[in-house]
């Protein structure tokens, strides 16, 4: 594939960026969830 660096680079930026965000956000949420009683979690 020509311009493979650009093409694959943009896929890496997109999915890498989203994955990094999701991982930090959800692990932080789990840390917080341990300190909050279930009564304050409307989804449970």
């Amino acid at each position: 594939m020509e311009d493979a660096g650009f093409v694959i680079g943009s896929y890496v930026v997109v999915f890498g960026g989203i994955a990094a965000y999701a991982a930090t956000m959800i692990s932080r949420a789990r840390r917080l969830a341990r300190r909050v009683p279930d009564a304050d979690k409307p989804w449970t």
């Binding site: 594939m1 020509e2 311009d3 493979a4 650009f6 093409v7 694959i8 680079g9 943009s10 896929y11 930026v13 997109v14 999915f15 960026g17 989203i18 965000y21 999701a22 956000m25 959800i26 932080r28 949420a29 789990r30 917080l32 969830a33 341990r34 300190r35 909050v36 009683p37 279930d38 009564a39 304050d40 979690k41 409307p42 989804w43 449970t44």
Partner: protein, 257 residues
């Protein structure tokens, strides 16, 4: 930890539920499908050749960014207009704005890479490009304002008003940049997305991308919104705990005298 889990027998240490699992799985499948189509199965374009493959991630992330900012604006308006002033709308606005900034960021980066390949430059002062960049900066400011502190309702009101002002600002920026360039020179670049002669498989891949990214957005927003509920709850509890401590302290001192 300070407070032991109260309530249910099996405490939830998570922001996930059945709904998020479904959305997460579907989004993951969609993304896998998109990568397969975008990188392998779909053909290279006649004019753009291989660089067209960037389109399958660029256009869906741009769509999600606009969708996210639209949801922020609507949720902010609902917070302000509804007499209940429910913080749920505020948290939805905040969660959506954060994810919008993420997707707008990757849209700008992939757009620059694509632009370098098809226009020869990373950046051009096209009206849509420029107003998109301004949208990005405006929402960075919005997120900064959300972190300013104060009570939760202060945060909600302040940021909701700011989002409304953003709705006022962006058309003005877009229009002024358009007028700014059109008076002097025509945009030298061809409109790329919305290319009328995309062949069937390419159009299908793009469609898969739009669906997959929308599912990803929904999944992220649900999680982020729940994380915000936790943050707010913890803030309230922290305050309650501090008050109880202070009262106990005051009672002790009062008793001593």
């Amino acid at each position: 930890m300070a407070n032991a889990p109260a309530g249910g027998i099996t405490p939830t240490h998570d922001t996930g539920t059945r709904v998020t699992q479904v959305f997460g799985t579907l989004a993951a499948l969609g993304v896998a499908w998109l990568c397969a189509f975008g990188l392998l199965f779909s053909p290279a374009d006649r004019d753009q050749r291989e660089s067209v493959r960037i389109m399958y991630v660029h256009v869906p992330s741009a769509w999600v960014a606009y969708l996210a900012f639209g949801v922020t604006a609507v949720a902010s308006a609902l917070y302000l207009l509804r007499s209940s002033h429910s913080l749920t709308w505020d948290r939805l606005a905040g969660a959506s704005a954060e994810i919008g900034v993420l997707f707008m960021g990757v849209t700008l980066v992939t757009g620059m890479l694509w632009g370098r390949l098809s226009w020869g430059v990373f950046w051009t002062w096209d009206a849509r490009l420029t107003s998109t960049a301004f949208l990005f900066v405006t929402f960075l400011g919005y997120l900064a304002v959300r972190r300013l502190g104060g009570t939760q309702h202060q945060r909600a009101k302040r940021s909701a008003v700011l989002a409304m002002l953003g709705v006022l600002e962006i058309p003005l920026v877009h229009f002024s940049v358009r007028l700014w360039r059109s008076l002097h020179q025509d945009a030298t670049v061809a409109r790329i997305d919305g290319d009328p002669d995309l062949d069937g498989l390419m159009l299908f891949s793009l469609f898969v991308g739009l669906i997959a990214f929308t599912l990803l957005y929904v999944w992220l927003v649900i999680h982020r919104q729940r994380a915000l509920v936790l943050e707010d709850a913890l803030e309230d509890h922290g305050l309650d705990a501090a008050l109880v401590e202070r009262r106990a302290e005051a009672a002790l001192q009062g008793g001593g005298r």
